[in-house]
């Protein structure tokens, strides 16, 4: 596969973002339909090229692409290149295919939004960033993609920035993931410092010409405690991006963004970046047993922890959000056991069925104008297509064969089973109890949404208008109805993928594992016991949900009494938000740092009196800002900037 074709995978959506943001939006207005055409066609191109890349890797295991030196400072040479191996090829297909379907769906979902072009600009930029992150063959470039992905996530969560809850959610996501990124950055610096002096570091991940590169550094140039800390730093970055405990709190709030964004970013692709990062650096983790155990334990704990909260949420998107956190926990658990194949297989399957579930919830919202399942019910009659695909997604998530979730979850259970020992047993129990809860919460959501009687939609939601923005004209007033074809079609495609995606690694075929073989994956045998237990767990969960929510055996109030304290603990999300906000922000920052700084500022401060003599402006600045907010200041700055740019441009045009 020619190198240029691989670069186009990144460049095409980037060009769409530039075109939409800098040309289409200023010239043709914020709702031009052309924006969707630009984004969808370029991402379609990326998707086709990704398939080509997949086939190329399939044939040769690894496509060697050259590195290009872009910067040289003394000994240090920054060489940028792309890395195309099995891991990358799988991620490419996942990212581009889900992105493509989501963007087609968005054309229907966002059609009424005034930020239509802005939306497609950000989505295209996000896709380009994610592809950069996946393809980078240099830790520096990877980090650039990593941060850009975070930025796009921030922009898209806060897409409806006039809504305070969206702005707050965007801020929260940004701060918490940035907290994880800090450790990732420290890990990068750690690599730089630990690297021996005799071989200048290049940060290249895979460099066949060099005696040692980053992926082969574990156990050779990076060893012992240093390597462990580096790995833990990488894991902290991954935990932030993939919303693993204790950095998971931002993801449920991130549902403030438009639903297609949730489907693309917070279900299928961006949150997978953390899993991808750990998978990419698995050769390092292999040499650091402690770090790997930490990864497995974090994953195991998170999967149960998040699933338990999913059981009590009333907002369908929040149920799905906790479900995502929980499923990512499964992937980390597998990675921590060194099971690259099962982890990626689950990532692959999960991307499709979770995107499907999210798009289904968006479709429901499109019809009812709410995300609150207490006001839904009975929708299966009016929305047969949505119901059908949602059911497929739910069965897949619950791990019922033959749907895809069963096969990958079985592989993860199997790897914990065959690992054995105290750690393996513990992880297996965690994964199994998680499976019960998973089936229970997703079928609870299914029953509440689609079964029973319709409970009125947004009209009963007079007080809770938090989703007011997301309602559309069609959703107002009238009875619920099926979504337009442009929204149904991508869901059907995803549903089909959720049914068949397991074939990629079906027992006996092992295409998936074969592709990852050079990276150390090996075909998993089928373990009858864990598979049977996993299936039993899924059926048990569905049974509990049916008993409680299908008007069946147990009535909800009868058990709510004794379980009330537990329910409250779960509804309040284990009080972690309060802990972070109250203790970390309010006490540590405001109480400590802020008070210290106040010494230099407030009435009682020492420095204050001296400053006051000249500080006559301060008190009136607020007043001033109000008056300035007329746009005139922006005009002035625009004129100033354009003036400077024009002068330089004139030189370039006529000077010499």
């Amino acid at each position: 596969m020619p190198e240029a074709a691989v670069w186009i995978i990144i460049v095409a959506p980037l060009a769409a973002a530039v075109l939409n943001g800098l040309i289409i939006r200023p010239l043709l207005g914020p709702t031009t339909r052309l924006a969707a055409a630009a984004a969808i066609s370029t991402i379609g191109l990326s998707f086709l090229l990704s398939l080509w890349a997949l086939i190329a890797v399939w044939n040769n295991h690894e496509v060697i692409l050259p590195l290009h030196e872009v910067l040289r400072v003394d000994e240090f040479s920054l060489r940028i290149g792309l890395l195309l191996d099995g891991l990358t090829a799988i991620m490419l297909v996942v990212v581009t295919s889900v992105s493509l379907l989501v963007q087609i769906y968005s054309h229907g979902y966002m059609s009424e939004d005034r930020g239509y072009v802005r939306y497609y600009t950000f989505m295209a930029l996000f896709t380009a960033s994610m592809l950069t992150l996946v393809l980078a063959n240099n830790l520096i470039l990877l980090f650039v993609g990593w941060e850009l992905v975070g930025l796009c996530s921030y922009l898209l969560i806060g897409f409806w920035f006039t809504r305070p809850s969206a702005a707050a959610a965007a801020k929260k996501a940004f701060i918490i993931t940035r907290f994880g990124d800090l450790f990732f950055l420290i890990a990068i610096l750690g690599i730089f410092l630990l690297w021996p002096d005799d071989a200048p570091i290049t940060f290249v991940l895979n460099d066949p010409d060099a005696p040692v590169d980053l992926l082969r550094a574990g156990g050779t140039v990076l060893t012992g405690a240093g390597l462990t800390w580096v790995c833990l730093g990488i894991m902290a970055g991954a935990a932030g991006k993939s919303a693993q405990f204790p950095l998971h709190t931002w993801l449920p709030d991130a549902m403030e963004g438009p639903t297609p964004v949730s489907a693309l970013i917070h279900a299928a692709t961006m949150v997978a970046a953390g899993v991808f990062l750990v998978a990419r650096f698995l050769p390092l983790f292999d040499e650091a047993e402690t770090a790997r155990t930490v990864v497995a334990l974090i994953g195991g704990f998170t999967l149960v922890f998040a699933a338990s909260m999913g059981l009590v949420m009333t907002d369908i998107k929040r149920v799905l959000a906790y479900s995502t956190v929980s499923q990512l926990g499964y992937m980390f658990l597998a990675l921590g056991l060194g099971a690259l194949g099962p982890a990626l297989f689950h990532l692959f399957n999960h991307a499709f069925f979770k995107a499907l579930l999210f798009l289904g919830s968006g479709s429901v919202n499109h019809a009812t104008g709410t995300f609150d399942m207490r006001f839904m019910g009975g929708l299966r009659r009016v929305m047969p297509w949505t119901y059908g695909v949602f059911l497929i997604g739910s069965l897949s998530l619950a791990g019922i064969p033959p749907f895809s979730g069963f096969w990958s979850k079985d592989e993860i259970l199997g790897s914990a089973w065959s690992h054995g020992g105290a750690l393996g047993t513990l992880l297996f129990i965690l994964a199994l109890s998680g499976a019960v809860m998973t089936a229970a919460y997703i079928f609870r959501a299914l029953y509440m949404t689609f079964h029973g009687e319709y409970r009125g939609g947004e009209s009963q939601e007079s007080g809770a208008t938090q989703n007011a923005h997301e309602t559309h004209d069609e959703g107002h007033g009238g009875a619920p109805h099926e979504s337009p074809r442009v929204m149904v079609a991508p869901m059907v495609v995803l549903a089909a993928l959720a049914v068949v995606s397991w074939l990629a690694n079906a027992p006996g075929l092992h295409w998936f594992t074969d592709m990852l073989e050079p990276l150390g994956a090996h075909a998993e045998e089928i373990h009858i016991v864990p598979a049977a237990l996993g299936l039993a767990a899924g059926l048990l969960g569905i049974g509990i949900a049916a008993a409680l929510y299908r008007g069946g055996a147990i009535s909800a109030p009868s058990i709510s009494g004794p379980l009330a304290p537990l329910a409250r603990l779960l509804t309040r999300k284990y009080y972690l938000d309060e802990l972070y906000e109250g203790v970390v922000v309010r006490m540590a920052l405001y109480g400590g740092l802020w008070r210290f700084l106040s010494w230099f500022d407030s009435e009682k401060g020492i420095v204050d009196r001296a400053v006051n003599t000249f500080g006559v402006v301060g008190r009136n600045v607020g007043k001033g800002i109000r008056v300035v907010e007329t746009g005139q200041l922006q005009t002035s700055l625009t004129v100033l900037s354009i003036g400077a740019v024009l002068i330089v441009a004139a030189y370039i045009a006529w000077g010499g």
């Binding site: 003599t613 000249f614 006559v616 402006v617 009136n620 600045v621 007043k623 001033g624 800002i625 008056v627 300035v628 005139q632 200041l633 005009t635 002035s636 700055l637 004129v639 100033l640 354009i642 003036g643 400077a644 024009l646 002068i647 330089v648 030189y651 370039i652 000077g655 010499g656």
Partner: protein
Amino acid sequence: MPTPIDAGSIGIDFAHLAPEIILTLAAIAVVLVDLVVRNKQILAWLSIAGVLASGVAAIALWTSGAGGASYSGVVITDLFGTFFKIVLLGGTLLALLLSPAYVNRRLSRFHGEYYGLLLLSTVGMMLLVSVGELISILLALEIQTFALVALIALLKDARSTESALKFLLLSAVATAVMLYGMAILFGLTGTTFIADMAVAVEARVETGGLANNLALIIAAVLILVGFGFKISSVPFQMWAPPVYEGAPTPIVGYLSVASKAAGFAVLVRLFATAFGQAGLDALDWPLLIGVLAIASMTLGNIVAIVQTNVKRLLAYSTIAQAGYILIGVAAMGNGAAGVYELAVSGILFYLAAYTVSNLAAFGALVALSPPGGGTDSIEELTGGAARSPLAGIVLTVALISLIGLPPTGLFVGKIYLFYGAVQGDLWWLALIGALNSFVSAYYYLRPVRRLWAGGGATQETDARRSPSLRASMALSAAGVIALGIIPPWAISLATEAASAFSP
């Protein structure tokens, strides 16, 4: 173990900074005295005394001739800088003299801050005209900017605060852009001392080609943005009208002359020294500056025509005046030695004449404004000459000078500048400048007609009750006329100062 610094070896010479030191001490004294005295009039006299003392030191510096570099080369004591220091001190003196009439009526508090900040701002400008090193230039620039921001906000009403904030934000951006340019320049030359830059710039230019010079051009343009802001040249002029409208009138007068003079001083010094002739050639300097000059003159004069507020009118007037002075800056780019000196001395003379003319106008405005402050509309001037004949005459003289009619200082100044332009083969610039002067007559004469018309309110004006205000008006008007009738003395001083840069 760092070697102890020997004061002699880095050339600490207090005499070179005597004017600044005296003025700083005066500012501190004003703030301290403010705490203990009840009669705030004393603060004004104290400030004036400080300015006079500083002026004596500056004149002493002038008579002692060129002192060269001191403080490790950071401070450059040459006649060019000293000329500007004297102009700045003169402007400050006139602004201080017309202040009490305004301050006593309009400010119930903050008298100490007013005078203290005014002096500190002047200190910043004086440093600005005499430092030869980029970081120090930035520092001096910030000293005067911050002082000015507080001064503009001192009325503490909505308009004043708004304009202060605008000034602060816009100048922050302009400074940031300029700093970026300076950083590139540092990257290209490896030094922050402008005296050492010319060599590196020349070497770079000689390698030829636009591609090689693009970084240099970008650096120059970005730096130009910063100083274009200070001198309120198009397209960096947008702050001027709102700030002029909102700020206290004496401060506007001070700002319009001092900030502009200091801005032009650094502009000339930086581009003449750091870029050298090779750099100016590479920039196609006359064309670049010429375009800015035309834009400033034309926009300023045309927009001024429709103004109904005197302070806004004068704001657009200063934008146009910046355009005239830029003609001189453009002529600097001509290689011939004679033209170079002619252009620089023209700028110096014009700035001196502009300082007295504009301050005369603002002094008269303070004198003519009704006790409550008024609206600053042109209508309000109706019958002003009858209320206060002195203010009427002074404002008339000032506006005639701003048009550029004889027998006033700016008439000579314009001839001087245009002559320099013609000598530098920029006759087209001179022509457009002359045309613009005709246009400007229209709006400058409008207030004059109102002034001498009958009718209008017969309120008492401030002029009668403030001897210092009358002194300020008389002094500045006398200066305007003196520069117009007997210019040779001032011209010889300007030529002497300009010789600091003869290539």
